[in-house]
């Protein structure tokens, strides 16, 4: 069980990190969201994995650790606030930069080299 859980966190991290390293805003936002899933699960698991032990007094014999759960609950909500803020930031940057959504500091003119368009065309 622990191994499976660890692999999940690893996969979320790897995917999140890869997406965060992309050059456009939207994949970066998706990557951040993915990474926050991973981080939330990791924090949650610091109370160890328990089955059928929800921390509601009287509902189980042994309870899982409620503290990481409380922390992760707010982390999920704050994580949403962060995602929302970042995605709006990217919308604003889109509006301010002539519909360019690069985050790698490139000047928009450089993007539309024939080679790039060719690659784009090949992709689509």
């Amino acid at each position: 069980m622990e191994l499976a859980f660890a692999v999940v966190i690893g996969a979320l991290t790897a995917s999140g990190v890869y997406l965060m390293l992309r050059a456009r805003t939207f994949p970066v936002v998706v990557g951040l969201t993915m990474l926050s899933y991973g981080v939330n699960l990791f924090l949650f698991s610091s109370g160890r994995l328990a089955t059928g032990g929800q921390p509601i007094i009287g509902s189980a014999e042994t309870y899982s650790d409620p503290l990481p759960q409380a922390l992760v609950l707010t982390a999920i909500v704050i994580g949403f606030a962060m995602t929302a803020f970042v995605v709006v930031l990217s919308l604003r940057s889109l509006a301010d930069n002539d519909n360019d959504d690069h985050v790698n500091g490139r000047v928009p003119e450089q993007d539309s080299t024939p080679q790039d368009q060719e690659q784009e065309g090949a992709n689509t």
Binding site: F5, M34, N40
Partner: protein, 935 residues
């Protein structure tokens, strides 16, 4: 109490002085005198204690944890400097009244001057080294502002910058040195530091601490090779040059050496560093002064030279030399301040400071000329004047210095040589300016005597030169004794303060210097020719070249690291995190802990498989943004399932509702963005990124695995035990959120509200036009608000609201609570926006979500502050049980009000964020109008 008063009064005066600027220069000058006069009066009663070598101490605790206290100490040494600062300060105020022109910013000038005075008094009176450091930096700052007083002059600005860079840099070194000393001694109080001299000197960090402290002292007191800032500081108004840059501030470094003399001096390191620096400064300053055509330039280099002399005396390490050093501090302050004032008068009356043009002024201003000539004679060391006495002591000490072999000849030789130069440049000052033919092409001709009162400060100082020179024991004897005693820690050697010591070697040296100096002056043309053969080094150019070199390098480094690419920052950040965590984790060496692995069941395994595939799939297909979003939502849903699987029902519900809101928001955003990410990154980069991501993923897997299989103890026992009896709730997670850790939650919902307001502010007045289609040639659907969706969405709203109310109310005991209920309500409302459009929904729900956020935070605060009324701390909760008909026994907790605040804030923040994005495009408004027409 009088000591802090003496230091703080000038600062109060600085606040008051500009208010009197309207009243003219006289009014403001009179007001500016008040702090010094009160200060002198407040110090007078202490004299009896100080004369016997006593100490007056005042301590108020400030930050005891840092060793910083508001403590002041008055002893002979600080008294000497305090008197110099206060008395010369008074003379400067009077002098500046006539020096400044009526149209100049007199208020600013006097305010800065008083600020400086307070800071300088702070340095000499502080008993705590950290407190002294604060005042030390303040003098650098006020000096900067005063040098650049004439802000329109480029040279003044550059000179001020240079002075600040050099003294400020030295200040940093000094701070480090003081911290080291404090670390060695265990206290920053002067009393402890001075008593711990042997401890400091035998400590292994002593050479470092000494070097750092001396760097601070040398930069402040313009010692070679940091002396170059002082001549450039002469761009300041002359009262500033006389006060800061000859009498007081430049003596701060010397004062520091005297102050810490018992703690740091007496070692070989001290001897070599201080005496050789002093010797070099003495010689270089005197040599350069000879060749300056600028009146103030000559005086500035002469000041450098005299500061070198004082430093050299301190460096010699004998007690008698220290007495001579303290004596010369007094003498130099007196004659140099009067010379600067005289130079200022000449500048004022002739319009120039160039000695090649100012000649023969004796004819025009005999009174000023007499005063200046006496002061200059004192500078040269003519008998019966104060400069002679300390110079004689200096010569005697130079002879006493026991250096091995031929080196023993060096100090007397240097001393005599510097004496020759001093006589030569003093002779030049006298002869060139007041005699030597007629003035050449003066801007103001003919020059006159200055206003009567402008000469009074000069007269007082020159009178002091004569008094000290002729009756030393009577005039400065007690003060010098008290100061020397404080410097040496009470151990004052025998010395004689008389005008003539009989015929001895020092007198011979004086004689040689005198004859040699006059000879040199008569042969000056040869020396000028000789000097002209060397290319003069422009320190300013060198300094600025170094500064611009440093700043260029900084720019290059910054531009390399911070090139504007988020991609690059993220890469560097992640790679560094991986790099710094590898080694400690490797050392930890745990793969699987002692708890071992528990068996896995098939349903969980299937969920894991789907999750991993969806997560990696999102990265793989991310170019198709819509598809990636769908896969992301799969991941989010499975994470929610995971929470449910591992006994966290609250988290599962939160994750589920947040997931809905997140995906809706990302869909909305995607509407305005290109729906495809083009191929741009070279293949090599992609492979690199895959490797980084892989390393991060594997690292996290290993860390998680190691952590999960470790035994652990939790602090949660407390929460589980007290949840029901202490807070009246059985859902421990919710109780932690609204009760035990309620303050954290308050902070979190505040952040949530701020984020939503930030989103709103960021998107105001932004107009984004969405692309006409999905980027692959398909136009958007014409049916923006499908009828089926509308018909289902509308009846859903009351149902959803009822469920959220239920979830909210039961939250204290069952999975639920304000966060989850708020999100459910938000989802239900968002559904209406999606199904029926912005305008339609807003016509019916005319709530401003800003207010909802505000209301929510208000509820939370009221719930928290309510406990004050019962005398409990913030956010103490209480609960009771009430019996309702039908429902039965029901628990009412004050935390419910807090949870209501959470509920409202979550709704307000979520909807404000989404509607801000939703109303971005005018397009959607048009569509909803269409809809209304249709319906």
């Amino acid at each position: 109490m009088s000591l802090p008063l003496v230091v703080l009064l000038p600062f109060l005066g600085a606040l008051a002085a500009p208010l009197f600027a309207q009243g003219g220069r006289t009014a403001i000058a009179v007001i500016s005198c008040v702090p010094a006069i009160i200060g002198l009066a407040a110090l007078y009663p202490h004299w009896a204690i100080l004369a016997d070598g006593g100490i007056v101490q005042h301590t108020t605790e400030w930050l005891p944890a840092l060793g910083l206290s508001f403590s002041f100490r008055l002893d002979g040494l600080s008294l000497l400097f305090t008197l110099l600062i206060l008395i010369i300060g008074l003379l400067i105020i009077l002098y500046a009244r006539y020096y400044l022109k009526p149209h100049e910013n007199v208020g600013k000038f006097y305010a800065l001057l008083l600020c400086f005075k307070g800071s300088m008094l702070g340095i000499v009176l502080s008993s705590n080294l950290l407190l002294m450091m604060v005042f030390w930096e303040l003098t650098s700052l006020t000096s900067f502002l005063l040098i650049s007083f004439w802000t329109h002059k480029k040279d003044a600005r550059r000179g001020a910058r240079m002075a600040l860079a050099v003294t400020g840099g030295g200040g940093l070194a000094l701070l480090a040195g003081i911290l080291l000393i404090g670390n060695i001694v265990g206290s920053y109080e002067l009393e402890d530091v001075l008593a711990a001299g042997d401890l400091i000197k035998n400590h292994s960090m002593y050479p470092v601490a000494l070097t750092l402290v001396l760097l601070g002292a040398f930069t402040k007191s313009a010692q070679f090779p940091f002396h170059f800032w002082l001549p450039h500081a002469m761009q300041a108004p002359t009262p500033v040059s006389a006060y800061l840059h000859s009498a007081t501030m430049v003596k701060a470094g010397v004062f520091l050496m005297a102050r810490l003399y018992p703690a740091l001096a007496g070692t070989e390191q001290w001897f070599y560093m201080v005496s050789f620096t002093g010797m070099a400064t003495l010689l270089i300053g005197a040599y350069v002064a000879m060749f300056k055509h600028d009146l103030k330039g000559l005086l500035a280099h002469s000041t450098v030279s005299h500061l070198g002399l004082i430093t050299l005396l301190f460096g010699m390490g004998t007690h008698l030399a220290a007495v001579a050093a303290v004596f010369h501090v007094i003498n130099h302050a007196i004659f140099k301040a009067s010379l600067f004032m005289a130079a200022g008068i000449i500048d004022h009356e002739t319009g120039t400071r160039d000695m090649r043009r100012i000649n023969g002024l004796w004819r025009y201003m005999p009174h000023t000329a007499t005063l200046a000539m006496v002061a200059a004679a004192s500078m040269a060391g003519v008998p019966l004047l104060n400069g002679f006495l300390s110079k004689e002591m200096f010569f005697a000490e130079a002879l006493e210095l026991n250096l091995p072999g031929l080196w023993a000849y060096l100090p007397p030789l240097v001393a005599t040589l510097a004496g020759i130069f001093a006589v030569a440049y003093s002779a030049r000052f006298i002869h060139d300016v007041f005699f030597n033919g007629r003035p050449v092409n003066l801007p103001i001709f003919p020059p006159h005597e200055p206003p009567r009162y402008m000469k009074i400060p000069v007269e007082i100082l020159v009178f002091a030169c004569l008094m000290v020179g002729m009756f030393p024991a009577f005039s400065v004897g007690p003060l010098l004794y008290a100061a020397a005693s404080a410097t040496l820690g009470g151990d004052v050697p025998e010395y004689q303060l008389t005008v003539a010591h009989g015929f001895n070697l020092p007198l011979l040296m004086s004689f040689v210097a005198f004859i040699g100096g006059l000879l040199m002056y008569t042969q000056r043309q040869r020396f000028f020719d000789f000097h002209a053969r060397f290319k003069e080094i422009d320190e300013k150019a060198v300094f600025e070249a170094i500064v611009s070199q440093i700043s260029d390098t900084a720019h290059t480094v910054t531009a390399y690291i911070e090139n504007g690419s988020l991609q690059r920052y993220a890469m560097l950040l992640i790679v560094s995190v991986i790099a710094v965590s590898v080694l400690p984790l490797w050392d930890l060496g745990i793969a699987i802990g002692s708890n071992g692995l528990s068996p896995v069941d098939w349903p969980t395994l299937i969920g894991v498989a789907i999750l991993v595939v969806a997560a990696l799939g999102t990265a793989a297909v991310h170019r198709d943004r819509f598809f990636a979003l769908v896969l992301l939502s799969v991941v989010g849903l499975l994470v929610a399932l995971g929470f449910a699987r591992f006994s966290a029902p609250d988290l599962a519900m939160t994750q589920l509702s947040v997931e809905v809101v997140t995906i809706v928001l990302l869909m909305l955003a995607l509407y305005y963005m290109p729906s495809w990410t083009p191929f741009e990154t070279p293949k090599g980069h992609r492979i690199r990124d895959i490797l980084i991501a892989g390393a991060a993923g594997i690292g996290m897997t290993l860390i998680t695995l190691a952590m999960l299989t470790q035994p652990f103890t939790s602090i949660s026992e407390f929460f589980l035990e007290n949840s029901k009896p202490g807070a009246g709730g059985t859902n421990v997670v919710n109780v932690i959120l609204v009760d035990f850790r309620g303050f954290d939650t308050l902070g979190e919902i505040t952040v949530l509200g701020i984020a939503a307001l930030g989103i709103y502010a960021m998107l105001r007045h932004v107009d984004l036009t969405p692309p006409p289609g999905d980027g692959q040639g398909h136009p958007w659907t014409r049916d923006a608000y499908p009828m089926m969706l509308q018909q289902i969405a509308r009846p859903m709203l009351p149902l959803a609201l009822m469920i959220s109310a239920y979830i909210f109310l039961r939250g204290h005991n069952m999975p639920g609570g304000g966060f989850i209920a708020g999100l459910i309500t938000a989802v239900a409302l968002i559904l209406q926006y999606i199904a029926s459009g912005m305008s339609w929904t807003q016509d019916r729900i005319s709530i401003r979500y800003h207010n909802v956020i505000g209301l929510g935070l208000l509820f939370a605060l009221i719930a928290g502050a309510g406990s004050f009324a019962f005398g409990y701390p913030f956010l103490t909760s209480t609960f009771d049980y009430v019996y309702w008909p039908v429902v039965g026994k029901f628990e009412v907790a004050s935390a419910l009000v807090f949870d209501l605040g959470v509920y409202l804030t979550v709704i307000g923040a979520t909807l404000l964020a989404l509607t801000s994005v939703g109303r971005l495009s005018p397009h959607s408004a048009i569509k909803s109008t269409n809809y209304k027409e249709g319906s």
